[in-house]
Amino acid sequence: MNIGVVVFPGSNCDHDCEHVFKDVLGQDVTMVWHKETSLKGLDGVILPGGFSYGDYLRTGAIARFSPVMGAVQKFAADGGLVLGICNGFQILLEAGLLPGAMLPNQSLHFICKDIYLKVENAATPFTGFCRPGQVLKIPIAHADGNYYTDPVTLAGLQANAQIVFRYCDDDGNTVPAANPNGSLDNIAGIRNAQGNVLGLMPHPERCAEPALGNEDGRLILASMVDAMRKAASHAHAGLAR
């Protein structure tokens, strides 16, 4: 599969993503500069973490007007898989590809540590290798991960199983004490209604190989590769008919 990793000025997890998809999962990776206007030939797109445009104004607020984001909108509308990690999640929210907004962490601190995540929906292209309710240990590193949305949108997210990951303790209890940033309903990651766009604050690319002592993140990224492979073979079968 050919995975595009978008590079904004200020992205800093782009090469971590490249490394995992290429060296750990054995895929092709294309680095996509934010001035690009086409995502042709890609099977999936990653908006990586970092501090695009220095987080000026609001996180993701300026990146979302980068030329490439028009192509990302189209790619997503055509059903392509888009994964936004941390700053990438913030950009997806600002772009309206996912509902809601990010507020500063309630503690006002930048938090960089391992947290536990509960897989609330294991039937997505990004969680296919996870068990329902599985607890993953994955690091967060952000100052603005306090997810917020209005009560009507929240009810919709809950009803449509769009909340994919929630912060929990090591036993999988999604209690307030396990919430690192004040995020509404312990939300750590959500998907769009169509199911092909996912944003999450934790960094799966930082824990995807044995050398790092934790491979939980690999489950998410390998699930995405598997879903792309299935989509590609379906498309092939369709063409053959």
């Binding site: 104004l57 609001r58 607020a61 300026i62 007007f65 600002e94 809601g100 907004a101 507020l103 500063p104 309630q106 503690s107 006002l108 917020y148 949305t149 209005d150 004040g182």
Partner: protein, 80 residues
Amino acid sequence: MKAKIHVTLKQGILDPQGKAIEHALESLGFKNAANVRVGKYMEVELNENDKAKAEADVKQMCEKLLANTIVEDYRYELQG
């Protein structure tokens, strides 16, 4: 023409920075200080003589970029 733009968190959304400042004011002895809200202030010079056009543009700027209306309110005044 100059636009002076204020962006603040919507009422009802917790503003931890405002809360911290409020507590600091309290410990300084300002017992009457309450509901501190922190926001952003921006100035934009506009090469525009038509006030209605300038106002429409500033509104668009706020809606599209300067404020995230899911969590923020904005207000502005035009001078000159």
